[in-house]
Point group: C2
Chain length 164, copies 2
């Protein structure tokens, strides 16, 4: 069997449900295609409303509601800026919370590169700008990469504990 190892009461899968699971909560925030692609564009350097809509390929209506949601969730901040001879406008700037989703987004990219591009291979390569070495997303402990079968999950709370 190829699965993680479950510690403590987690081992008996009939007695608990992952109700407060961070994965589910994360999916509530960035579970839509447009949200993830807006993040991608932000990582590529986009900050303005129209650019998000155009580059992601979504309508302005969708861009508006998604940016509103992501800003409300604290992934973006609206910051005023002023180009010379223009009036003050607002741009959407990544916060630390938004930036910290980079591993999740790049992990999707890495997986898509491997399994969904067919003959063509990855359209874009990732490198460490400091060293020139290729960059990968890895599940690891300090010394090494950890495969699924050697991952141990431990509960941080008592069985039946009330949680928000």
């Amino acid at each position: 069997m190829d699965a993680a190892r479950l510690d403590g009461f987690l081992a008996d899968r009939d007695t608990w449900r992952a109700t407060h699971c961070s994965i589910g909560k994360a999916m509530d925030v960035i579970g839509t295609r447009s949200a993830v692609l807006i993040l991608r564009e932000a990582y590529y350097g986009t900050t303005r409303f129209d650019d998000f809509a155009k580059r992601v390929g979504i309508t302005e209506a969708v861009a508006a509601s998604r940016l509103r949601e992501l800003t409300a969730e604290g992934l973006f901040e609206r910051q005023p800026y002023k180009e010379p001879g223009q009036r003050t406008r607002y741009e959407y700037v990544l916060t630390a919370k938004g930036r910290d989703l980079l591993p999740a987004v790049l992990a999707l990219m890495q997986w898509g590169d491997k399994y969904l591009q067919g003959e063509c291979g990855p359209p874009i390569g990732l490198r460490d700008d400091a060293t020139g070495e290729p960059v990968r997303v890895e599940v690891r402990s300090p010394g090494r990469e950890v495969p699924l079968a050697e991952l141990r999950l431990t509960p941080n709370f008592a069985e039946g504990d009330a949680r928000p």
Copy 2:
């Protein structure tokens, strides 16, 4: 500015769109909440239809269509099994393609643990079963973790190149 560095023609954001982007393609496959949570349960060791529906907390109808899609995409394989005194049934077993999404799913978990759990902290801890060390998802080159601002993106094809 906090963003990746774009090489070659990628640098001029007005001349290209990420149309063949692996992130978008990946979102087409696992862009739904139920798909990701089914993967989570698979990583926890679930293989049977009813268990997926119950443990994820979705209806059997949703579990059926999602498992059908994920199997068609090659993330799961339907394998016959037989318990003594029972007839032959089928279970859903992760393929390498499904297993390789672990970094993406754990990256979501890690992010949710950090930003969406409030006072409670992470409900579940991850450790390397071999060493006991904590496990993290990282964007890294061989020697070190790479922050967004030091990530360089290089195109693997010519500008305007036809791609499927």
